[in-house]
């Protein structure tokens, strides 16, 4: 089977890779690009562990065919921090103990970033609905929601300060 050539930008880097036409973007990220941050919890769009931003939109990478990424700008969990400087969400997740096993964490961080990019001042209910596509079996969500709200506050302070 001939392989499809894809050019795109991932976490700020222009990259090229070959993939099978039917391969998911999640598999391409993991198998071709060796970016292991996005996880497969289900492969059917139900858990959000594979969440990425594609041209600024939150997507389940397991539901996207890799060739669809041609020309797109993709952000994975590996691209959220600014060099060594953690994103406030990452910092607040650490300080707020928002992870136990951590396998859902990459997806939550990406989904929460998508929320805060579009709504810097969400209510608890808005956070809960924005993250309803991400499953966490460990935490009961409490500390995740609090950490996202704390990150929003911190980002507002940074803007104000």
């Amino acid at each position: 089977m001939s392989r499809t050539h894809v050019s795109c930008n991932i976490n700020g880097d222009d990259v090229e890779f070959l993939c099978d036409a039917g391969e998911s973007l999640l598999d391409a990220l993991r198998d071709e690009m060796r970016l292991m941050g996005a996880k497969e919890g289900c492969g059917t769009g139900d858990c959000g562990a594979c969440s990425i931003l594609m041209d600024g939109r939150l997507q389940c990478s397991c539901l996207i065919f890799a060739p669809e990424a041609d020309g797109a700008a993709i952000v994975t969990v590996e691209g959220i921090a600014d060099g060594d400087h953690l994103h406030p969400l990452q910092q607040c997740f650490l300080e707020g103990a928002a992870l136990q096993c951590g396998v859902c964490t990459p997806g939550f961080l990406v989904a929460a970033k998508a929320l805060l990019d579009r709504n810097p001042d969400p209510t608890e209910t808005e956070v809960r609905y924005a993250l309803a596509g991400n499953l966490c079996r460990c935490t009961g969500y409490d500390k995740i929601i609090r950490s996202v709200l704390a990150a929003a506050d911190r980002m507002k302070e940074e803007v104000a300060g």
Binding site: M36, T44, A97, Q100, G102, V103, T105, L135, R137
Partner: protein
């Protein structure tokens, strides 16, 4: 909130530092088993049974073997058949069917090929000829004489007389005390009911995964997602017929387990495929496989009858419990029997349990296994007694509350326990003291779990710069590394981030039992403390050498050696490690122990719900949980365990269930149709950590991982009743069931 009875104040224990493994997890660097890639690695795929029960007549692998990329194909015949009395025999027959398939999803053959797709295509090309057999899916039906038999060698144990015919009932467990007739005769109120629950899945977000690399020297290295890599080693060895010394198991980060990763599914298959192919083999389950072939927790039928005096004292309990174990027997009914009335002092009881095999996946442990179903029955009936007597449900529980010295229903005398303190914590909480909002219903329940000790090992090495490395054999499934570091910091008197906690593989650290039974912080923590105390003795010795004085004149406190006569400037730990080369070499200590005296865990919870009387949908409006942690080493992760347990219980109570069609095929093997709670379903989960220190642990730790899942089932049932007058005795309390109950006006 933390309510502390009386404990010493600590410098590190009880603080909330950022966990050591956290950074890797928020930047996407943490390595889970599915993330590992080795040069030349192949992919494995398993062919699974489409039938709930069938005889395997023939397996033809010839087409598959000739397909592109295929390097190895294996079936059950490639593994030794263990003798009938081998304790691991059922495990091996679960991992690869022999003679018969016993549930839909039972593994029949496996392939290793160059790509995932090639492996899957080849597995599908294996031709299996089945003779389909009648199956049984329902516990009560499976118990009937004449039901289709899964095994022809199960003779029920624990009966008064040994049966002559095989059945699906593996054993009967019985606990009895006092005079039950007399107990009911002295009761003013008697309540009873039958309670039904379905199998549900642990639902960890990371599917099972492993990589095995078998060399020509006959040794293998396994990287895997497991709660216990020493058990992976022993079970893999048993299935392969190998000596354990040929197997090294390296624990990867684990993406949730909750009991479901205390046994193995993939590892011996990957090792065998790797041995045949001469290449590393990775196996990763799909979510569908996780549901169909890995351990749900049992479905159950539980009948309980309770009697109480007019002033609320429980006089008698009768319980009949049947747990379905899936295709091979487990210990689930016995555990249920041990838990069913444990939060209550009852003088007269008869508790009988039956372990029943059915054509469903083999059950695995799930967080306080068997206790939630039992509590669902008992704590719903206790609520009925409170209503009949017009008593506050917490007062009723306090009146019947066991404390140290009382005899637990399953035999031993209770040690120091914190049930009373948890009841009082809920009674005095702001939540309980404020009335539920108009239209909301309130429910209360309590729960018990044993906690266990078992074997643990730890090695603590002091580095030349005054930092320490703590190596243990306990996979970290919920923040235990941070707890180990905190206890070591407290002992050694150095900063918690000067300590690097590590989970060691099977060759670098001593034997350690599985992370289960809420034991890691308790038992492995004890080993860490013991090793640190050994080191403190060594540090005093080294200081004595440096000062050329008697070791008796050296004291160790706050991370430094001081001279009792004040003749020398104190030495910090780093001062001593820097000189270690001149005073006797590196400083390190190892402790291996069998921990005893894991303090029993109790939790008491209150919830307010609203029920939509048009759809039957239940919304959890408010939830507060109190739990005795003994001592909370890292309160964030104690709260996390409490909250996680509660939410799993909420999912179990309201949504989750295995649904099988008439042929025994699972109909909802994905997160779309098997719906676990999501963020928008829930309120914040308020926590009250109660600390009644466990006298058997140097810092008073009790396990905290499990008991939180026990009370939500009855607490929600009681709250729904309070809101609607409908008593629901079957889970899940999903909208159709709640609506039907409301409409039938089945108030009790």
């Amino acid at each position: 909130m933390t309510i502390t009875e009386q404990r010493p104040s600590y410098r590190y224990v009880g603080t909330r530092p950022v966990r050591h493994d956290g950074l890797d997890k928020v930047v996407g660097k943490a390595r889970y088993a599915a993330d590992l890639v080795l040069p030349g690695m192949l992919y494995g795929h398993i062919l699974r049974s489409p039938h709930a029960h069938a005889r395997i007549v023939d397996i033809d692998t010839s087409v598959a073997e000739a397909m592109p990329g295929v390097r190895a194909v294996i079936t059950g015949a490639d593994f030794p058949d263990l003798p009938a009395d081998d304790p691991e025999r059922n495990m091996t027959r679960n991992l690869m069917a022999r003679d018969k398939v016993l549930y839909e999803g039972h593994a029949v053959a496996a392939v290793a090929a160059a790509t995932r797709r090639q492996a899957r295509d080849a597995a599908e090309a294996i031709e299996v000829t089945y003779e389909v057999l009648p199956h049984t899916l329902d516990i009560l039906e499976a118990m009937e004489p004449g039901a289709p038999l899964l095994h022809d060698d199960i003779l029920t144990t624990g009966l008064d007389s040994e049966p002559s015919e095989p059945s699906n009932v593996a054993n009967r467990t019985c606990y009895e005390r006092g005079d039950i007739e007399q107990g009911f005769a002295s009761a003013d109120v008697v309540v009873e009911g039958e309670f039904l629950t379905k199998p549900i899945h642990q639902g960890y977000i990371e599917p099972h995964a492993c990589v095995a690399d078998t060399g020509q020297d006959g040794k293998t290295v396994i990287w895997c997602s497991s709660q216990g890599h020493f058990r992976v080693r022993s079970q893999t060895a048993a299935m392969l017929g190998w000596d354990t010394s040929r197997i090294k198991v390296i624990p990867a980060e684990i993406g949730g387990g909750f009991g479901g990763k205390t046994t193995i599914y993939l590892e011996p298959l990957a090792v065998e495929l790797s041995a045949r192919a001469g290449r590393p083999v990775k196996m990763v389950m799909s979510r569908d496989e996780v549901f169909r072939a890995t351990g749900p927790t049992p479905g159950s039928v539980i009948r309980v009858k309770l009697g109480a005096t007019g002033d609320g004292r429980i006089t008698a309990a009768k319980a009949w419990l049947a747990y379905e174990s899936g295709a091979f027997p487990g210990v689930w009914a016995m555990l249920g029997c041990m838990c069913v009335v444990s939060p209550y002092n009852v003088e007269n009881f008869l508790i009988e349990g039956f372990e029943v095999v059915v054509n469903k996946p083999v059950n695995a442990a799930y967080r306080a296994p068997s206790a939630p179903m039992a509590a669902f029955a008992t704590d719903t009936l206790v609520d009925e007694i409170a209503r009949r007597l017009d008593m506050d449900p917490i007062d009723l529980r306090l009146l019947n509350c066991p404390s140290a010295g009382d005899q637990a229903p399953y035999g031993p005398k209770w040690p120091l326990i914190g049930l009373r303190e948890c009841l009082e914590a809920i009674r005095d909480s702001e939540h309980y003291r404020s009335a539920p909002a108009a239209g909301h219903g309130r429910g209360v329940a309590s729960g018990f779990w044993f906690n266990i000790g078992e074997a643990s090992s730890a090695t603590v090495n002091l580095n030349e710069n005054g930092t320490a490395t703590v190596v243990t054999g306990s996979p970290d499934i919920g923040g235990s590394r941070a707890s180990m570091a905190l206890m070591a910091a407290e002992e050694l008197g150095i900063d918690v981030h000067a300590i690097q906690p590590v989970v060691g593989d099977t060759e670098v650290v001593g034997f350690t039992d599985v992370t289960e039974g809420s034991r890691a912080t308790f038992a492995t923590g004890m080993a860490v403390v013991e090793a640190c105390r050994d080191l403190k003795g060594q540090l005093r010795g080294r200081a004595a050498r440096m000062w050329d004085c008697d070791v008796e004149d050296v004291e160790w406190a706050d991370g430094r050696a001081t001279h009792s006569g004040g003749e020398h400037e104190p030495l910090a730990l780093a001062d001593i490690t820097a000189e270690a080369g001149r005073t006797g070499g590196p400083l390190g200590a190892t402790a291996s122990l069998n921990a005893r005296g894991a303090g029993p865990a109790f939790s008491v919870q209150v919830t307010d719900v609203s029920v939509d009387d048009e759809t039957g949908r239940v919304t959890v409006e408010r939830y507060t949980t109190a739990q005795d942690a003994g001592t909370a080493i890292h309160p964030d992760y104690v709260e996390g365990q409490m909250q996680g347990g509660v939410v799993q219980g909420i999912g179990w109570a309201l949504n989750e269930e295995y649904i099988h069609d008439a042929d025994g095929v699972m109909e909802n093997p994905g997160f779309l149709d098997y719906r676990i709670p999501v963020a928008s379903d829930l309120p914040m989960i308020e926590t009250i950590i109660v600390e009644v220190p466990n006298p058997n642990h140097p810092y008073g730790v009790r396990g905290v991982g499990e008991v939180g899942i026990v009370p939500p089932l009855p607490a929600l049932a009681n709250a729904i009743h309070d809101a609607t007058d409908a008593r629901i005795r079957e889970l899940p309390m999903s909208p159709p069931r709640v609506l039907a109950a409301i409409n039938s006006g089945n108030g009790a």
